[in-house]
Symmetry: C2
Subunit: 307 residues, 2 copies
């Protein structure tokens, strides 16, 4: 898992301060955002450069934490006098989708992502869950990345469908949850939905199904991955971004990942995301050791074995 020898990943997404209520408790203004979860998660596997924006209220301790993970912050814009993007959400007993109580876009409202000249040749680009118009703007600044991966959500599928479809035509790997896949494809059956979505561009599609695991659709076949059997979920925020981090992080360690490598990467994403769910914010993600990651991945792979 030596990140320094892997291909470099550029991620664009949100860096946020989240206020969270779950059945396990609540936290005020803790670190959140797709680029935060993805960046920290992927930094375990590959060099990561973040393109994002925060206000000058953003705690220095979090910047230090990013740096301690080797994350390159040259592309993190700090707006003087600006306030960081804030989100407040609540999870019910089932720990399904969060109910958004408040969104303050703040500096994110005017965010115009800029890719620095030396970042334009990053071989891997992860377009985190932000406005597809911004995702397009970032993609336009890149010099033919080897792998473009994207995450999105219902809000953009419904509200910015055309822009999203435009960016999808240039994406190699798409990560969606089931509801999003159905909404995007307008198909209820998940296998038909996958056909429709892949016809929009992404050759490889991973449909996340929460506690039911995920399905990888690849040109060489389909792989059904189970979830990690968690007996307690503390806070599911960021699980999807962490899943993408493990998946893409592991892909970054290979020049030309094939179907088997993709399957292993899905298991790694699954395991990394399971750790995120075991603590508030990035608490558990930051504390995971390589030994824990390897042991849990082996145990997940074992649960798939028939013989």
């Amino acid at each position: 898992m030596n990140p320094s020898t892997a291909r470099s990943i550029l991620v664009v997404g949100s860096v946020a301060l989240d206020s969270l209520e779950t059945p396990s408790g609540h936290r005020e203004a803790c670190l959140g955002g797709s680029a935060s979860y993805f960046g920290v998660g992927a930094s375990r596997f590959a060099p990561v450069q973040v393109v994002a924006v925060v206000g000058d209220d953003f705690p220095e301790a979090y910047l230090a934490m990013f740096r301690s993970h080797g994350i390159n912050l040259e592309g993190l814009e700090v707006v003087t006098g600006g306030r960081t993007f804030r989100w407040r959400g609540r999870y019910g007993k089932t720990l399904g989708d969060a109910q958004t109580l408040e969104t303050q876009l703040n500096v994110f409202e005017q965010f115009d992502p800029k890719v620095l000249p030396h970042q334009r040749r990053a071989p891997i680009l992860f377009l985190g869950n932000i406005d597809p118009e911004l995702q397009l703007r970032v993609l336009d600044q890149m010099e033919s990345p080897h792998l473009v991966a994207l995450d999105t959500m219902n809000f953009w599928i419904t509200g910015k469908r055309e822009a999203l479809i435009r960016v999808l035509s240039r994406v190699d790997l798409l990560v969606l949850n089931e509801t999003e896949a159905r909404l995007l494809s307008e198909e209820r059956n998940i296998y038909r939905a996958a056909d429709v979505v892949r016809a929009m561009g992404p050759k490889t599609l991973v449909i996340k199904r929460g506690e039911y695991g995920s399905i990888l659709f690849h040109e060489d076949g389909v792989f059904v991955a189970p979830a990690v059997p968690l007996r307690a979920v503390i806070d599911p925020t960021g699980a999807g971004d962490t899943f993408a981090a493990g998946l893409i992080g592991q892909l970054a360690q290979q020049e030309a990942p094939d179907f088997v490598a993709m399957k292993r990467a899905v298991l790694t994403g699954t395991v990394l995301a399971s750790f995120t769910c075991e603590g508030f914010s990035l608490d558990r993600l930051c504390s995971v050791t390589n030994e824990e990651l390897v042991a849990r991945t082996a145990s997940l792979a074992q649960s798939l074995r028939v013989d």
Copy 2:
């Protein structure tokens, strides 16, 4: 898959006439009931004897079909002047749980299952989804079966909880769906729910999750089985009973099935159930060839392979 060399299975359950509405169409008074689906499904793997009741309105063609599958009907009581149990149900777009439109218990209301003397030594007993008091009455008539398996539903978990818990203490293998497992255990988390349910008696538990597959909880480990990727479901009625039929039918072919055999049996149940969903009533289940079953099982096992 030669059934004649396998251990014999005694099944008690319902034989019904179902009227079904699904997004694919509707059918009036076609063959249904847990013992019908289970019996036909399991007869492919092992000798099956059915204990059930019908009225004299029950079509002779269905009896002939049962016989053509080698099913022993000595324990099928035909009540002269009685009407067969009838159920009318409707499935919505998602093909989730059916909405019951009408239930006519008819001859089932007075059903007092009798196990014939030569059937009491059957090595395997499947207690289909009927009143747990009837399940107990059948179990009391048996002479120490090697394997007792049971299916039940929300209706009995809520309405006959004490009797159900009494019968569960004598059950080896329990098949439940997720909602039922949560209701029975009063635990939302499925792994905790499994602990609670297994402490009630059944050492082996299979929790069915519909389109998400199933989880096998066994004393030697946990196995997460995917569902068959179906692009179209015509009628899910009887899928659960057919799952149990494939599972228990395959177990009947071995003297002392271990964890690996249990995992293979879960895949067989999964595949058999997928065929049931592809037609109304028992139509597709009756037409499946061994070649189709073997091919689909191989393909399902393949979708689990990482390397």
